[in-house]
C-alpha cells in the first residue's frame, strides 16, 4: 500500500496524516496501533523495536467505528471501557466532551456527533502516552471540534503524542504533516 515511509514522533508531538481517500491513512494508523503487522520494516519506541504488549498499554485508538453498544447508555458504554481497560474517571470524561446531559440516554438515541464525542471521551479515561485518531473531527460541530482540540492540547502539554488523520485543517496547532501521497514531511 505504501513504501519507503519514515517518520518519528517526539513527546508532545503531533503528526497529521494527509492523503487522498484510500491512500492508506487508516492502514498506517492500524499499523501503528499494532492491529496490522507491517509487511516490511519496523516500528520502534524509544529506538527499540516495539513490544506489542507494552505498546497496547500506552496507546488509545479511536477508529472510524465508535465502538458503542446501542442498547447501553452513554455512561454504561464508557464505564465498561473504563473497567475493562485500565480505569479512569467516567464522570470527568463525560463532562470533558460535554456529554453529562446525555449520560443516561441509550446510545441508540445519540446523533452522529454525540456518538463521536462518546468515542472520543474514552481518550480522557486513564491517561495513555500515544493517541491514534482516525479522522476524529468527522461529524463534530464547531463546539465539538473545539473540545477535541483542547483535549489534544492538554494531552500534548503533558508530553503525550498524537497521530491523527484529517481532511482539511486538523483541530490543532503546531504539527508535522505526513503526506502519504507525496511521501513527504512538512511542519506547520
Amino acid at each position: 500500500m505504501f513504501r519507503a515511509l519514515e517518520f518519528a514522533l517526539r513527546p508532545g508531538g503531533a503528526l497529521v496524516l494527509a492523503g487522498r481517500n484510500g491512500a492508506g491513512k487508516t492502514s498506517l494508523l492500524r499499523l501503528m496501533a499494532g492491529l496490522l503487522p507491517p509487511a516490511d520494516g519496523t516500528l520502534e519506541w524509544n529506538a527499540a523495536p516495539l513490544d506489542p504488549d507494552a505498546h497496547r498499554a500506552r496507546l488509545r485508538y479511536v477508529g472510524h467505528a465508535d465502538a458503542l453498544k446501542a442498547a447501553l447508555t452513554v455512561r454504561e458504554n464508557l464505564s465498561f471501557w473504563s473497567a475493562f481497560d485500565g480505569g479512569g474517571d467516567v464522570d470527568a470524561a463525560l463532562a470533558g466532551f460535554g456529554l453529562s446531559a446525555q449520560a443516561e440516554a441509550p446510545a441508540r438515541f445519540l446523533s452522529a456527533g454525540q456518538r463521536r464525542r462518546t468515542a472520543l471521551a474514552r481518550l480522557l479515561l486513564a491517561p495513555r502516552a500515544l493517541w491514534l485518531l482516525d479522522e476524529p473531527g468527522a461529524s463534530l460541530d464547531a463546539a465539538g471540534t473545539e473540545t477535541l482540540s483542547r483535549a489534544i492540547e492538554a494531552h500534548r502539554a503533558k508530553g503525550g503524542m498524537v497521530v491523527l488523520s484529517a481532511h482539511g485543517t486538523p483541530p490543532l496547532a503546531g504539527y508535522d504533516t505526513l503526506d502519504i501521497d507525496a511521501l513527504s514531511m512538512s511542519t506547520s
Binding site: 496501533a33 499494532g34 492491529l35 496490522l36 503487522p37 504488549d53 497496547r56 498499554a57 496507546l59 485508538y61 477508529g63 472510524h64 467505528a65 465508535d66 465502538a67 458503542l68 453498544k69 442498547a71 447501553l72 454504561e76 465498561f80 471501557w81 473497567a83 475493562f84 481497560d85 485500565g86 474514552r122
Partner: protein, 221 residues
C-alpha cells in the same frame, strides 16, 4: 480479573436488553425438537428410543444458531479493535465472552431440555444423565463454537462456513452425551461417558480460548 468481570457483565446486560435473541434460541430448540413426533410418528417406544439423541442434536443446532453473533457485533461496531488493543490478555476477554454466551444460551437450553425430553416421551428417570451430560458438554460446545466463530469472522456467508467448521467437532460431545443417557436407559453405569465429556471440557478450556484469540487477531487485520 476485573476486566473479565466487566466484559461478562456487559455481554449479559446486552443480552438482557435485547432479550429476544436468547428466547429465540430456546424457542427454536423446543419447536424444532417437537417436529420429530410428526415425522417419525407418535409411537412412545420409538420416540423414547431416539429422544436422547434428538435432544442432543437439537442442543447442538441451537448453540450453533446463536454462535454467529458471538463476535460479530463487536467486530462490526469497532469494539473488537478496542478489545484487541486493550492491555488485557485477549484470552481472558475471549473466555469472558464464551462464559457469557454459555450463560445466556446453554443454561436456558438446560432448563428447557426436560420439557423437550418429556415431549419426546423420554423416561423421567433418565433426566439426570441427560442434564449432567449437558452441564459438562455444552461449555465444550460453546468453546469449540467460539473458535469457529472467530475463524469465520468477516467471511462472506460466515454462518454456513461456521456450521461446516464446527459441526464435525461436535460429534464426540454428541456421542458421549447421548451415550450417557443410552447407558442409563440400559441400566448400565453412565459415569464413564460423563467423564469423557469432562475430559473434553478440560481440553477445550485449556486450548480453546487461545485458539479463538489467535483467530480474532487474524480476523482484525
Amino acid at each position: 480479573m476485573s476486566a473479565f468481570a466487566a466484559l461478562l457483565r456487559r455481554d449479559l446486560r446486552l443480552t438482557l436488553r435485547n432479550g429476544g435473541d436468547a428466547l429465540m434460541v430456546v424457542a427454536f430448540f423446543i419447536v424444532a425438537g417437537a417436529l420429530f413426533p410428526f415425522g417419525v410418528g407418535a409411537e412412545p417406544a420409538v420416540l423414547a428410543r431416539i429422544a436422547p439423541g434428538l435432544v442432543w442434536v437439537m442442543a447442538l443446532l441451537s448453540v450453533l444458531l446463536s454462535l454467529d453473533r458471538l463476535f460479530q457485533s463487536d467486530y462490526e461496531d469497532g469494539s473488537l479493535d478496542q478489545i484487541l488493543l486493550s492491555p488485557q490478555p485477549l484470552t481472558l476477554a475471549v473466555a469472558a465472552k464464551i462464559a457469557a454466551h454459555w450463560l445466556v444460551t446453554a443454561v436456558p437450553l438446560m432448563i428447557a431440555a426436560p420439557v423437550l425430553a418429556l415431549l419426546l416421551s423420554l423416561d423421567p428417570a433418565l433426566l439426570p444423565p441427560l442434564l449432567l451430560g449437558m452441564l459438562l458438554g455444552t461449555p465444550t460446545l460453546a468453546i469449540l463454537g467460539a473458535i469457529g466463530a472467530a475463524l469465520s469472522l468477516g467471511a462472506r456467508r460466515g454462518g454456513v462456513l461456521l456450521s461446516l467448521l464446527v459441526l464435525p467437532l461436535y460429534i464426540p460431545v454428541l456421542v458421549f452425551g447421548a451415550g450417557a443417557v443410552a447407558a442409563a436407559a440400559a441400566g448400565e453405569p453412565f459415569q464413564a461417558p460423563l467423564m469423557a465429556l469432562g475430559a473434553f471440557l478440560l481440553a477445550a478450556l485449556a486450548l480453546g480460548p487461545w485458539a479463538a484469540a489467535a483467530s480474532l487477531r487474524q480476523a482484525a487485520q
